[in-house]
Subunit: 201 residues, 2 copies
DNA sequence: GTCTATAAAGCGATAGAC
DNA sequence: GTCTATCGCTTTATAGAC
């Protein structure tokens, strides 16, 4: 009911975007447990109480960051849908995209064990909607690729899907980059190849 | 300089073993950050101050658990060396062993980001000795398998090694088991196959 | 060496003034 | 809505009696 709601809304939206972007980066850098709310507010340059007017808990911060990355993943999926590629080639492109995001420090990493975080995520409609949308999109490509003999049909589609999700946070990338012996592009190439063709020749 | 040192030593050794076994299980179950020292002492049935007479920090607890699992891995490697198998078959057997350990809740999971933990581990001679021994053993098999054309020679041996270490904590196993749709043995088979042959047919 | 009790510090979350 | 200041809880680690 304010006199000039749109200006105010835009300002608040921009601030929320800045918060989520910072959270995204910190989650990619140190993970959920190691990231503190104090770090986030210091990075954004606001007071902690102000942050808690936008997000009611640390878990909701992580959920917002996940919504952001899922939106970008869905954008990439939509872009790939417009290209003339086989289903397997599209899945490979998605995997490559995920590795490149991780290489750029843009892939938030969440612990799979934390129960309160899981509860917040599963209760977040925005997150669950996007997660299911992405799973459906990739699942269709997986089944299609298996039918075309480009993906092992003996593997359950869910296992392929979970494997792709897991490889998006593959710790091997960080270790290989830390060794400093190879270029980022070379590492990504190897990881994509290992994911789809394995370690065998 | 006690009057009956051997009895006392044996008792203390048994208590330390009980502590490390509990830590190993808790690390496999909830990870380093979520595991609290209070949980450990409650599980073992001793007072917290008593635990700190054996181990001077939570990080050292994790290091002791890692030494334990590395010892078991080295035992498995020694066992495999006695069998008539190709280098690639031995690596595959090691991967299978690691997945089975994880399935049994015996594979401790450490965060790769925690810096104080990393500092303790790299400063722990018992841990570093075993880690380097295992890396050398597996590295020899990797180079051998690549020379025999059973492993992709285009991949740097270090990438293969890190991949095997990473798959030992592969989160895909936990998600697949949670779905409850497949047997443990079937899941392990799929994961080993995916690791070496990839998602492609 | 083991215990009870407590110190010391970090962190998530909030109260209340503006 | 934003700020400062602080609460309340958890957790690691230790002091001191036995």
């Amino acid at each position: 009911m304010s006199a000039r709601p749109r200006f105010r809304e835009q300002f608040l939206q921009a601030r929320e975007d800045a918060i989520v972007e910072s959270v995204n980066r910190l989650l990619a850098e140190k993970g959920f447990e190691a990231m503190t709310v104090d770090e986030v507010v210091a990075d954004v340059g606001i007071a902690k109480a102000s942050l808690y007017k936008h997000f009611t808990s640390k878990e909701e911060l992580a959920a917002a960051a996940m919504v952001r990355v899922l939106d970008r993943a869905l954008e990439e999926v939509a872009r790939l849908r417009g290209l003339e590629l086989s289903a397997a080639a599209r899945l490979q492109a998605v995997a490559r995209w995920a590795y490149e995001q991780q290489m750029a420090g843009q892939m938030p990493a969440l612990p799979s064990q934390n129960s309160t975080l899981r509860a917040t995520l599963t209760g977040d409609k925005a997150y669950m909607d996007r997660l299911m949308q992405l799973s459906d999109d990739l699942g269709a490509w997986i089944v299609q690729a298996q039918g075309q003999g480009e993906l092992n049909p003996a593997l359950p589609p869910e296992l392929v899907l979970y494997t792709l999700f897991a490889r998006a946070c593959d710790p091997v990338l960080g270790v290989m980059r830390a060794s400093g012996a190879h270029t980022d592009a070379q590492i990504v190439d190897w990881l994509v190849a290992t994911c789809f063709k394995g370690l065998a020749p």
